[in-house]
C-alpha cells in the first residue's frame, strides 16, 4: 500500500477512531501512566491521519522510503540510459517527424549534477512520436515542469494527471510532441529552495538550469537551442518558471506560471530575494530579457493575482507577457488541473518544432532511452 493512496488515509482514520474508542473504554481501568500513553497514541494517530491527507494532496513523500529518511538525493532510479544515439537523417526527414498519436510514456531516471553536486531522480514524459522508431532521426522540444512546495514531481502525474493532459493536447494537435522533464527541486522534502542557489545550501538553480538540461541533451533526443526549451510550474514552481526563464534567457525561451508569486518568500542567504531573485525588482532595475511569459491565476487567489498583474504591468519588450485568469478556485489542485492544458498549448506555440538533428549523425552502440524504457516506465510500476 502506497503512502499517498486514499486507502492509506482511510486506514489511518480508522486507526485514530479505534485508538479513541480504546482510550474512552480503557480510561477507568488504567492508572495515570496508562492514560497518558493512550492519550499520546490518540494524538499521534489523529496527527498522522491529518498528515497523510496533507501528503496525499501535496505528494511531499511519494513513497514510504522517502518518509523513513531516503531523501531525493540518495534515491536511484533502477535504470538509466546511456548516451543517446541519433539515427542518420535521410531526405524524407525534411518533411518532419511522422505524426504519431497515442499514449506517451513516463520514465524515471537519475540526474547526476556535475555543476551543482546534486544527484536526484527525475521523471520524464516521452510522447508517442518520440518513441516510435520512425522518428529516431528527430530531436524534440523540451519543457521543464516544476512543482509546488511542499511537494515533489510526483504531484504532476498523480495529482494533476499531467500525462493524460499531455497525451490529450498532443493528440488534438494543440500541442507538438514535446519531451517534458519533471525534476526534483530540493534534496530535502522539508527544505524550500524555490529553485535557487541557497547560500550554504543546495545549488538547485544550477541543477535545474545546467545539470538537468545537460543530462537531457546527453541522454535524450532533445533539441539543444534555447528556442526549444520552456518552463512551467504551479505555485512555488510558477515562481521558479518565471524567475529561471528571466534569469537564463540563453537557455530558455518561455515560461508558464500557474499561480506563481513574484518573489521566493524565503531567505536565500545573500538577500537576493529582494533583488535579483525578485521578478519585480528585475523588471524595474535590469533590461528585460527576450523571453515570453504566460501568467495564469484564479481571481480569488489574492497573492499570485496581485503579483501577476504587477509583472504584466511592468513588462517591456523584448519580454512579452500573456495573462489568463479563472474567475475563482483559489490556490488549489483543481485550478491547476484546469490551467495546465492551456498553459502547455501556449508553451508549445512558443517552442520550436521537432527537427532532424543538425550536422553529421552520431551512431553509438549504447541503447537509446526509448529502448531502456521497459523497466522504468511508471505505468509498469503501477503509477499513472
Amino acid at each position: 500500500m502506497t503512502i499517498d493512496s486514499l486507502a492509506t488515509v482511510l486506514i489511518a482514520v480508522v486507526v485514530a477512531v479505534g485508538a479513541t474508542a480504546l482510550l474512552a473504554l480503557a480510561w477507568d481501568r488504567r492508572r495515570a501512566v496508562g492514560r497518558i500513553a493512550l492519550t499520546a497514541i490518540v494524538v499521534l494517530a489523529v496527527t498522522a491521519a491529518a498528515a497523510l491527507q496533507l501528503n496525499l494532496l501535496t505528494e511531499t513523500y511519494p513513497a514510504w522510503s522517502a518518509l523513513v529518511g531516503q531523501s531525493a538525493e540518495s534515491s536511484e532510479a533502477p535504470d538509466d540510459p546511456g548516451p543517446v544515439s541519433i539515427a542518420v537523417a535521410n531526405p524524407q526527414d525534411q518533411h518532419g517527424p511522422a505524426k504519431v498519436t497515442g499514449p506517451g510514456q513516463l520514465a524515471d531516471y537519475t540526474v547526476h549534477g556535475n555543476a551543482s553536486g546534486l544527484t536526484m531522480p527525475m521523471t520524464v514524459y516521452l510522447p508517442a512520436a518520440y518513441t516510435t522508431p520512425r522518428n529516431r532521426a528527430f530531436q524534440f522540444p523540451v519543457i521543464e515542469a516544476f512543482h509546488g512546495f511542499p511537494g515533489t514531481p510526483a504531484a504532476w502525474p498523480k495529482r494533476l494527471d499531467a500525462k493524460r493532459y499531455l497525451d490529450q493536447e498532443i493528440a488534438a494537435g494543440r500541442m507538438s510532441p514535446t519531451v517534458v522533464l519533471f525534476p526534483y527541486q530540493t534534496p530535502n522534502p522539508l527544505l524550500d529552495t524555490e529553485c535557487l542557489n541557497l547560500a550554504k545550501g543546495p545549488q538547485t538553480e544550477t541543477y535545474l538550469t545546467r545539470d538537468v538540461p545537460d543530462w537531457a541533451r546527453e541522454h535524450l533526443r532533445v533539441r539543444t537551442d534555447r528556442g526549444s526549451w520552456g518552463l512551467i510550474g504551479f505555485s512555488a514552481g510558477g515562481y521558479c518558471a518565471m524567475n529561471l526563464a528571466m534569469k537564463h534567457p540563453d537557455r530558455f525561451t518561455a515560461g508558464a506560471s500557474l499561480s506563481g508569486l513574484a518573489g521566493p518568500g524565503i531567505k536565500v542567504g545573500d538577500d537576493s530575494e529582494k533583488t535579483t531573485n525578485s521578478i519585480t525588482w528585475r523588471l524595474t532595475h535590469q533590461p528585460p530579457p527576450p523571453v515570453s511569459l504566460y501568467l495564469a491565476w484564479a481571481a480569488d487567489d489574492a497573492g499570485p493575482g496581485k503579483d501577476s498583474r504587477q509583472i504584466a504591468r511592468l513588462a517591456k519588450a523584448p519580454l512579452s507577457v500573456t495573462t489568463a485568469t479563472m474567475p475563482r478556485g483559489g490556490h488549489s489542485l483543481p485550478v491547476w488541473r484546469r490551467m495546465e492544458a492551456p498553459a502547455f498549448d501556449w508553451l508549445s506555440a512558443h517552442l520550436n518544432r521537432a527537427a532532424a538533428a543538425p550536422g553529421p549523425a552520431t551512431p553509438t552502440p549504447q541503447p537509446s532511452p526509448t529502448e531502456t524504457l521497459t523497466g522504468t516506465s511508471l505505468a509498469a510500476a503501477g503509477r499513472h
Binding site: 485514530a16 482510550l23 525534411q94 518533411h95 507538438s176 528556442g227 497573492g303 483543481p334 484546469r338 492551456p342
Partner: protein, 247 residues
C-alpha cells in the same frame, strides 16, 4: 459564507471548546458513559482538526470558497474553433506557385510586386490549424526555384515579398495583422528568409519584433532549401486552436 471567513473559523473554534468542556463534564456522570466518551472525543478531534485546517486555509487562501473545495466550480478550458482565413478557399486551390496577395492598402507598403502566398500541403484539410509563417524578403523571391523550396517546407505558410527601394520596417510591420485576416497564420511564429541585398531591412524588422520573428536566415539562390530548413527549425508546429481559460 466564504471558507476563509472568520465567521466560520471562530464558531468552529468555539464549538471545539464546547465539545472539550462537554466531554470533560459528562466524562464520569453520563448515563451511557462509553458512547458519550467516544462521541465526545471524536467530536473534539474532528473540530480541532477542522479548525486547524480552516486557519491554514485562511492563511494561504488554498480554497477560498466551497465551490473551490468541491473542485467542480469552474468551467473547463474552452476550445475556440479557429476562424477561417478570408482567402482560405483560394489558398486551398492554389498551386505550389502560390497566390498573389493583394489586400486593401498593400500598395502603401512600397513593394516592387504584390506579395505571394504559398500554402503548405495540408492547408486545405487541416481547417482547425494555424500555421507558422516564413517571409521571403528577396529580389529573387518570385523565382520558381525559391517558390518550390518554400512549398517543400512542411506546415509553414510562406509569404514572398519583393521589397522596393522605399520599403521600410514600418511597412513590413503591417504584414502580420493583415495576414491574420486573410489566412490562418500564427501571430508569433514567424521567420524570415532574405538575400544579401535586403538583409538590413529584414534584420531591422526582426529587431523591432523579436518575439514574433524568431530568426532571419540568409538565402543562397543556388541552394534555397538550406535557408528554408534553417528558418523552419526555429518555428513551432502548425497547431490547432489552443485550449483557453474561461476568461
Amino acid at each position: 459564507m466564504r471558507l476563509t471567513s472568520l465567521w466560520l473559523i471562530l464558531p468552529t473554534g468555539g464549538l471545539a471548546v464546547l465539545a472539550v468542556a462537554g466531554t470533560v463534564w459528562f466524562w464520569r456522570i453520563a448515563r451511557w458513559r462509553p458512547a458519550v466518551r467516544i462521541t465526545g472525543l471524536i467530536l473534539v478531534e474532528a473540530l480541532v482538526v477542522l479548525c486547524a485546517g480552516l486557519v491554514a486555509n485562511r492563511a494561504d487562501n488554498f480554497f477560498p470558497t466551497w465551490q473551490a473545495l468541491a473542485g467542480d466550480s469552474e468551467l473547463p478550458p474552452q476550445i475556440v474553433r479557429q476562424a477561417p482565413g478570408k482567402l482560405d478557399s483560394k489558398l486551398a486551390a492554389a498551386s505550389t506557385a502560390g497566390l498573389a496577395w493583394t489586400p486593401a492598402g498593400y500598395t502603401t507598403w512600397h513593394l516592387a510586386a504584390p506579395p505571394v502566398l504559398i500554402p503548405p500541403a495540408g492547408y486545405r484539410k487541416r481547417t482547425d490549424h494555424t500555421f507558422p509563417v516564413i517571409v521571403v524578403i528577396a529580389a529573387d523571391g518570385p523565382k520558381s526555384s525559391i517558390r518550390a523550396a518554400a512549398a517543400s517546407v512542411p506546415d509553414v505558410l510562406t509569404l514572398v515579398v519583393t521589397p522596393g527601394p522605399a520599403t521600410t520596417v514600418s511597412d513590413l510591420s503591417a504584414l502580420p495583422g493583415r495576414l491574420a485576416h486573410d489566412a490562418r497564420a500564427m501571430s508569433d511564429g514567424w521567420a524570415v528568409v532574405t538575400d544579401q541585398q535586403d538583409s538590413t531591412l529584414a534584420r531591422g524588422w526582426q529587431k523591432s519584433a523579436p518575439a514574433r520573428i524568431r530568426t532571419v536566415a540568409d538565402l543562397d539562390v543556388r541552394q534555397p532549401a538550406v535557408a528554408f530548413t534553417t528558418a523552419a527549425r526555429s518555428l513551432p508546429d502548425a497547431l490547432a486552436a489552443p485550449a483557453r481559460l474561461p476568461s
